[in-house]
Every structure is written in structure tokens, then in C-alpha cells.
């Protein structure tokens, strides 16, 4: 039995998900590959977005993958950290904006 729920070496096996459902697996990887191609956004910009989302999703595989991907593209550590802060700001903003609902409720019940 593995010692932890996450095993870094499992990232290499990601492609194997097609073995249990080839059609859906292949559709996913085709879509995934297409999304990250150069388009209106550069592949470099997409890599930084992916890094930020990897953090908000708290996916260790994605963090490993898009940190390495950023390094390959010449992304600096300053750019990476700024991207993560963008993700963190949205995440905390999303929490805090719900406090308006709390304030509304307080005002209605106890105003």
C-alpha cells in the first residue's frame, strides 16, 4: 500500500487512464492538447493560467507539471508567484464576496 494518497510518479501514468476507457480518455487528451496550443493567448500565457488554477484546485500533480512547464518556457519565479497570487486573490475574493450574503441575512433578521 502506498504511504501517501499522492505519489509524484503517478503523474507519468496519467496517459494510462485511456486503458480503461479509450474513447473518453482520448477525447479528453485531444481536447486538453488543443486547449494549450497557441491561440488568441500564447502558450506561455496559458501555462501561467494553468499554474494559478493548479494552486486554487490544490492539485499537486498540476503544480508539478505547470511549474516545470513554466521553467521550460523561460517563465521566471517572480512571474510564477504573481500568477499564484492572482489565483489566491480570486479564491479569497470569492470567499469574502459571500460575506455580503451574510450581511444581508443579518440585516434582514436582526436589522
Amino acid at each position: 500500500m502506498s504511504k501517501t494518497y499522492y505519489n509524484a510518479a503517478d503523474l507519468r501514468k496519467f496517459g494510462k487512464i485511456t486503458e480503461w476507457n479509450e474513447e473518453l480518455g482520448n477525447k479528453f487528451f485531444d481536447y486538453y492538447g488543443k486547449v494549450f496550443e497557441e491561440g488568441a493567448l500564447t502558450a506561455r500565457e496559458k501555462s501561467l493560467i494553468a499554474l494559478a488554477v493548479a494552486h486554487t484546485e490544490q492539485c499537486p500533480y498540476c503544480i508539478d507539471a505547470y511549474t516545470k512547464d513554466g521553467l521550460q518556457r523561460g517563465v521566471t519565479k517572480e512571474e510564477m508567484m504573481e500568477a499564484v497570487h492572482v489565483g489566491a486573490a480570486i479564491k479569497s475574493g470569492a470567499t469574502l464576496v459571500h460575506s455580503v450574503q451574510m450581511m444581508n441575512k443579518v440585516n434582514k433578521l436582526d436589522g
Partner: protein, 350 residues
């Protein structure tokens, strides 16, 4: 300043030890296929030379820098320098070779005391593309080297220089403190005499290799980022950027093992294997000559002491026709040249 593996008596200064590591572990237990087995899958074994295009000559392992990932294990403590006798043997070959490109490398080739004489003599052969791989900082290292940009210009030399990043931090981390500032100044000196500017025949290309255990990204995208940053920050122009993969040998192998990245890196190389890159790997169109005149399939095989599998093994006995009939010697380090878009001293190959 750091020392070479050799000066530190590091285990990996022994090339047999390097080959042992590359042949055992994940490759011996079948977890990853050997390079030979991989190219057999696409009927590309044995790897054979095509038309000879590039004669690459290593003038010595002495260098003013001790870069973290140097595959030559070069540095100030390395004393291997090509003698004038071997240079003369090289000149005899340069005059008659079919190769259209002469590529001088090192160490810092400029540190060979007979470097200028050799360039003057070699340039008389009228070879089409005459490359000198300059680490840039040598131009600023000592007053006697300050005239190198003018000297290169006079002899129509094509300058190819290493530059791992457009930021100071990443460059100095790989190549040593102060390297970035000296490199920038040297690039400006080369620009001043006409190198690298738009439309100029004085070719100035940069070589990018990753600063750690990861593969290079898209060569064109990196070139665009380098051009934009160097122009904006320092008003520097250059022509092309060659993205080169670090091969798992010498100091980079030492780094991979010490940082516990070796297995992941080898998996990444094998995963990125591209059979179409095999078609154009540089060993198929290059002969590499060491400081002491021995012949190799490429600079990396030279550093692993894997001499050509031919009756002709030394520049003194050079015979292009016989050399073209050899099989190229391969090992697991060759995955470095076949990953992704491929890698060579001229950048991507596929």
C-alpha cells in the same frame, strides 16, 4: 570559483563510471528502453552517418568559467589544450574536407595560445560557415581579449554564444556570479562592430540551455522572448537562438544525481522521444575532433571518451570516405538529442 569534477576527484570524472550509471538502473531493469532498443522500433538501428557537413574541433577544455551544467567539465583548472602540431593536422583536413561548416569549441577556444593563428589559417580555406563558440565573458576577461569582436569580424567568423536566460539571476546561477553583466557588455561590443544586427552578414547566434532538470521549451517562442527582453533592457540584437537540451553526462549528470532528479529527467527524455529527430541528429552529419586529435561522433561522445567505430580514429589518419562507413556509437545520453523537437549544436532538428 567552483572546480571541475576532475579537480575535485569526483567519481564522475571517470567516463566509465558515467557510462555505468547510464547503462544500469532504470535501463537495466527494463523500466525504460535503452536507446538502441528504442531506435530499433523504427528500424533506425544502427545509426549511420549521412553526408558530412560539420567539422567540430575542440581546442581545449580550459575555460574562464565553471558552469554548473558543463558537459565538457571545463574550467580554469583543465590544462588540456590543442598543440600547434595537432592544429596543423586539423588545417590539413580543413583544406580538403567536404564539410561546409567549421565549428570551433572548447572550453573557451580563445584561451588556446594559438587560437588567433589557427583562425587566420583556417579562414584561408574559404569554408562557408566558420563558427567560433564563444562564452562571451572571455571577451571581457582580460585586455588581451578585448579585440576579439574586431578579430572575429576581420575573419568573417560566425559567433555562437551561450546565454541561459535574459535575467541576471538565472544566468548567474548557472554560469557563475557576474557572468550576466559581462555577457551583456560583450554582446554590446559585438553589436557595435556589426554583429547580430538586422541584415548583417556578421552572424551572432545565442545558445539557450535550461538552467535545471527540465527540457527546453519551444525554440521560436524562447527566441522571441530573448529578443524582446534583450532589446528592451539592453538594446542588444542577435540573429537566432538555438535551444539545446542538457545531456545527462558530466557535471549535469552529477547535478541530476545530487538533486535526485536523475530518474525523472530520464523518464522525461524517453517520454519526449521523437523518431523524426533521430533522422537529423548531429552525429549523422558531424565529426568531432578532441584537443588531442581523436575523432568522435559528437562532442558528447568525446566527453564520454567513446571514439569513432572506424579504422580511422585520429586526425593524423583522417579519411572522410572511411569515416562515412562507420556505425555511430550510441548510449542512453543520446535520448537528449531526440527529445521533443530534437537538439544539436545548431538547435532543434525536427
Amino acid at each position: 570559483m567552483k572546480k571541475s569534477l576532475q579537480a575535485r576527484n569526483n567519481d564522475l570524472a571517470n567516463t566509465e563510471r558515467q557510462l555505468e550509471i547510464l547503462s544500469n538502473g532504470i535501463f537495466a531493469d527494463g523500466e525504460l528502453p535503452t536507446f538502441a532498443n528504442k531506435i530499433k522500433e523504427t528500424n533506425q538501428f544502427p545509426l549511420r552517418p549521412k553526408k558530412l557537413e560539420i567539422l567540430q574541433i575542440n581546442l581545449g577544455y580550459m575555460c574562464n568559467q565553471v558552469c554548473t551544467h558543463c558537459h565538457v567539465d571545463a574550467g580554469p583548472d583543465r590544462k588540456e589544450i590543442m598543440t600547434i602540431e595537432t592544429m596543423q593536422q586539423c588545417l590539413d583536413v580543413i583544406k580538403k574536407t567536404e564539410a561546409h561548416t567549421l565549428d570551433l569549441t572548447g572550453g573557451a577556444p580563445e584561451m588556446n595560445p594559438n587560437f588567433k593563428w589557427f583562425v587566420e589559417e583556417a579562414s584561408k580555406a574559404g569554408i562557408k560557415d566558420f563558427i567560433v563558440r564563444s562564452n562571451l565573458t572571455i571577451i571581457r576577461a582580460n585586455k588581451k581579449y578585448h579585440d576579439l569582436p574586431q578579430f572575429f569580424k576581420k575573419h568573417g567568423v560566425h559567433v555562437v554564444s551561450s546565454m541561459p536566460h535574459w535575467t541576471r539571476g538565472k544566468t548567474d546561477k548557472q554560469r557563475g556570479d557576474g557572468v550576466f553583466d559581462k555577457s551583456i557588455k560583450a554582446l554590446q561590443m559585438l553589436n557595435e562592430v556589426g554583429y547580430g544586427t538586422k541584415g548583417s552578414d556578421l552572424k551572432l547566434d545565442l545558445v539557450y540551455n535550461p538552467s535545471g532538470a527540465f527540457l527546453p521549451g519551444d525554440q521560436m517562442a524562447l527566441e522571441n522572448d530573448f529578443k524582446k527582453a534583450l532589446k528592451t533592457d539592453f538594446n542588444i540584437d542577435f540573429h537566432n537562438l538555438f535551444a539545446i537540451t542538457n545531456l545527462p553526462i558530466s557535471r549535469f549528470l552529477d547535478y541530476l544525481i545530487a538533486s535526485e532528479n536523475y530518474e525523472d529527467y530520464m523518464f522525461a527524455l524517453v517520454e519526449a522521444y521523437n523518431p523524426s529527430a533521430v533522422e537529423n541528429v548531429m552525429c549523422t552529419n558531424t565529426i568531432s575532433v578532441s584537443w588531442d586529435g581523436w575523432l568522435y561522433d559528437c562532442d558528447f561522445n568525446q566527453m564520454l571518451n567513446l571514439k569513432v567505430a572506424s579504422k580511422v580514429k585520429h586526425i593524423a589518419d583522417y579519411n572522410e570516405e572511411l569515416l562515412q562507413n562507420r556505425n555511430i556509437i550510441i548510449n542512453q545520453h543520446c535520448y537528449g538529442c531526440t527529445a521533443g523537437a530534437g537538439s544539436s549544436c545548431q538547435g532543434v532538428v525536427a
